[in-house]
Symmetry: C2
Subunit: 176 residues, 2 copies
């Protein structure tokens, strides 16, 4: 496990904050996935500043939207592929009308909070995600900012797991 | 009191967030200063988003630094005058060495958090401010972000009081 070599772009595909990616490279090597998660949590919650959180949020496509239509993303093809995979359940349970409603609420959310609605979507249906969006919309901005950062961390952990698996299998991760 | 007329630039001089200033104009007229403060708190903590908080923070000069040397400020001459007045005690108690130390810690703070150290400085000496800066430097970014927003609110309240006084006296506030 110690022999796995990670680059900044690997970590950036897990969480789109430059500071996060650089600090992870500094913290490497990791003896295990669990060690990497401990380091990632410390870096994300204690070292990345609020602008870094906003930077990471902007790397995500709007939920319910195909990552390929998210032109502003500075991240790799791997990031888009992962994002799509994490929304499999949501996309399978979506209808035109729920997708339309999701799109409208996403706009309202972004107008209120200034960043995209972020949720750990793996295994969650579109109606569930929509209900959560409406519930969270009522929060005050700082509270919602902290919740979004927590969701980002869950997404990061899942992606780190995929990264470790891919690296262990010897495949190149970031050249999709 | 009901006859006092405020413009967006008046409120912007109290708190340098465009959204804050616009919402205050929408919430006006105010029957009293206390009513204005209630509205201002609600707007600042519940309506202005995290980017608006960062925007307001950038309107401040670094503490211990003359506002006139703060070229990036988009705010009025009134904002600079008020900022200088609020630092009267700090400036009177400053020595070259404490100012030098304050400047160094300000840089460290800004590097960690991504925004200027904000403190309600009225009546506080430079050594007090320096001790507070060092203490707050240990916070994690989100905690410090919320503390800074609280300090901004105290500054806003003091400036709203000055604004009400100036308006009641019939003087033009924002053309210093």
């Amino acid at each position: 496990m110690e022999s796995l070599v990670f680059e900044e772009k690997d970590f950036f595909a897990c969480c789109g904050s430059v500071r996060f990616a650089k600090e992870m490279v500094s913290a490497a090597p990791f003896a295990s996935y669990d060690d990497a998660v401990v380091a990632a949590r410390d870096i994300w919650f204690n070292k990345v500043d609020v602008k870094g959180w906003l930077e990471a949020f902007t790397a995500h496509p709007q939920i319910g939207e195909s990552p390929s239509s998210h032109h502003k993303s500075p991240t790799s093809a791997q990031f888009s592929l992962w994002s799509k995979g994490e929304q499999t359940t949501a996309l399978a349970t979506a209808t035109d009308s729920t997708l339309q409603e999701l799109s409208e609420w996403n706009s309202r959310y972004r107008q209120k909070f200034g960043f995209v609605f972020l949720i750990f979507a793996s295994g969650r249906s579109t109606p569930e995600i929509l209900a959560e969006l409406k519930r969270r919309y009522e929060n005050r901005p700082l509270v919602e900012f902290e919740i979004a950062a927590g969701e980002q961390m869950k997404i990061t952990e899942l992606r780190l797991a995929k990264l470790f698996t891919a690296k262990a299998e010897g495949s190149s991760v970031t050249n999709a």
